[in-house]
C-alpha cells in the first residue's frame, strides 16, 4: 500500500512539474497586468488577423487531408494495389520529418531559386512568403492523422457488408456513401480533430515559409513568437491562452469521441 502511494506521488509530481504547472502558469501570467490589458492584447488587429489566418489555413488543409486520408485508407485496406506497402510507410513520413525541414523543402521547390521558382516568377504566382506555401506546409505536417485513424477501423469492420451491397447492385459510390462511410464516421471525425489541432498548432514549417509579416502572413503561433521576441510578454501569453483553449477543446472532443467509439 505504501509502495502504491509512493508511485502515485511520483507520477503526480512528474506530471505537475513537466506539464500541469507550466501550462497553468501561462493562464496566470496572462493576467499579470489585469484583465483589461489582457483583453486589449487579444483584440489587437494583428492578433485578430493572425487568428483568422490560422483558421483559414486549417479550413483549407483539413478538408484536403480528410479526403486524402479516407481515400488512402480505403486503398491500403480494401484493394490489392501493388504499392500499398510502400504507401503505408510513406504516409508516416511526415511524423519523422522536422518541421523546419518541411519548410526548407518547400523553399527549395517553390522559392525564388527553387525547382519551380523561375516558372512561378514568370507567371507572377507567389507560394513562399504567401498563403499557398503556408497551406502546403500545414497539409504536409498534418497528413497522416486521418489515414492512421481510419485504417484500423476499416480492417476491423471487414468488407462483408460492402460486398453484399455490391452484389445487390450498388455502385462503388453508393456502397461507399451508404455502407462504408457510416461505419467509419467516428474514426474519420477523430482523425479530423487531430488534424485540426496539428494544423492550428503548426509553427516550425510555417515559420520558414511565412516571412513573418505582421497582419499579412502571421498565424497565431507565429504571432506568439513575434510578441515574445518584441518583449511584449502579455501579448505572447494571451495569444498562447487562446491556443491553449483550442487545445483543451481538442482534448474534450477526443474524449467524447473515444467514448462514442467504445
Amino acid at each position: 500500500m505504501a509502495g502504491r502511494l509512493a508511485l502515485r506521488v511520483a507520477a503526480f509530481a512528474y506530471l505537475a512539474a513537466i506539464l500541469a504547472l507550466p501550462v497553468g502558469m501561462i493562464f496566470y501570467r496572462s493576467f499579470d497586468h489585469g484583465i483589461i490589458a489582457a483583453w486589449h492584447a487579444v483584440t489587437q488587429p494583428d492578433a485578430l488577423h493572425a487568428l483568422w489566418l490560422t483558421l483559414l489555413i486549417a479550413a483549407i488543409a483539413v478538408p484536403m487531408n480528410t479526403v486524402f486520408g479516407v481515400l488512402c485508407a480505403l486503398l491500403l485496406v480494401r484493394s490489392k494495389f501493388r504499392f500499398a506497402r510502400v504507401i503505408d510507410v510513406l504516409v508516416d513520413l511526415p511524423f519523422a520529418v522536422s518541421p523546419v525541414v518541411v519548410g526548407l523543402a518547400l523553399v527549395l521547390l517553390y522559392g525564388r531559386q527553387g525547382w519551380f521558382g523561375p516558372w512561378l516568377a514568370a507567371h507572377d504566382i507567389r507560394v513562399i512568403f504567401a498563403l499557398p506555401g503556408m497551406v502546403l506546409a500545414t497539409v504536409f505536417v498534418s497528413l497522416p492523422f486521418v489515414v492512421r485513424e481510419v485504417v484500423p477501423l476499416l480492417r476491423e469492420i471487414g468488407d462483408d457488408q460492402e460486398q453484399a451491397a455490391r452484389t445487390l447492385g450498388a455502385s462503388p459510390w453508393q456502397s461507399f456513401w451508404r455502407v462504408t462511410l457510416p461505419s467509419i464516421r467516428w474514426g474519420v471525425t477523430y482523425g479530423v480533430v487531430l488534424t485540426t489541432a496539428r494544423a492550428i498548432g503548426e509553427f516550425g514549417a510555417v515559420s520558414v515559409v511565412a516571412g513573418h509579416l505582421a497582419g499579412v502572413t502571421q498565424t497565431l503561433t507565429l504571432y506568439v513568437d513575434d510578441r515574445f521576441e518584441a518583449f511584449d510578454l502579455t501579448g505572447a501569453y494571451v495569444a498562447s491562452v487562446v491556443l491553449a483553449l483550442l487545445a483543451f477543446a481538442t482534448l474534450f472532443s477526443m474524449n467524447a469521441l473515444a467514448r462514442k467509439e467504445a
Binding site: 484493394s79 526548407l104 455490391r166 498548432g201 503561433t221
Partner: protein
Amino acid sequence: MATSAAIIQRERVQVKKNFIRGDSLLPAGIVTTFLSVIVLLPLAAVAARAFTGGTFWTEAFASDALASLRLSLVASICVALVNAVAGTLIAWVLVRDDFWGKPLVNALIDLPFALPTIVAGLTLVALYGPNSPVHIDVAYTQAAVYLALLFVTLPFVVRSVQPVLMELDREMEEAAASLGAGILQTYRRIIFPTILPALISGVALGFARSIGEFGSVVLISGNIPFKTEVASVHVFGQIESGDIAGAATVSVILLALSSAVLLALNALQRRGLRHGG
C-alpha cells in the same frame, strides 16, 4: 443448393475482382499523386540540394553543425530513457491505481499532442525562465532543451504502454507474488517482458519526435551555437542566413536518423505480428 451457393460464391469473387481492378485505379492515382506532390517531391528537393555541389561532407562536419547534431542526438536519447521510466510509471498509476479525478489526469496526458509547440515552449519560460515564481531558471541552458523535449514527448510511452497494462493478467502477478516473488522480481520477470514491445514503440516514436523538435525548444534554449543550439534550430538559422546547402545537409542527416528509427520500428512490429500471432 450446392450449385446455387457456388454461383453466388463465384459472383462474389467476380464482384471483388471488378472492384479491385476497375475502381481502385482512380483512387490509387489520386493518392499516389497527392503523396508525391505534398511529401515526396519536397523531400527529394532537400536531398538533391544536399548532394549537389559536392559539399555534403564538409557541411556535415562543420563544427557548429556537428555540435548541434550531437546535442540533438544525446538529448533525444536521454529523453527517451527518462520517458521509458516516467511513462511506464504514469501508465501504471493510471491503470492500477484509483484516485479522485483520474479521468481528468488521463485526458491531460494528451495535452502535449494538442498544444502548439510554441505554446509549450512559452509555458516552460513562464515557469522555469527568468522571473521564475519557483526560483528555477533554466533559460539558455541545456537543461531547457531537455525540459522542452520531455514536455512534448510525454504522451508517447504512456499511450503505448497503457493499453497493454490494461490487458495484463493480474492472476499471473498474484501467482508470482504468492510464490514469493518480490515487487521488483514480479516487475522484471512478468510485467516488463509483456510491455517491452509497446515500450520500445513508445520510446522510438518519442525519439523520432525529439530529434527534429523545434517550436518548444526555440524560445527557452536561447539557441547559443555549440551550447544550446539543437539541430533544427541550427537549420533554421542557416536558412535565415542564406546557407541553403548547409541547411539541406543537416536536414538530410536529421531525416536519415528519424526515418531509420521509424523503419526499424516498422520492421520490428511486422516481425512481432508474425511471431506473436
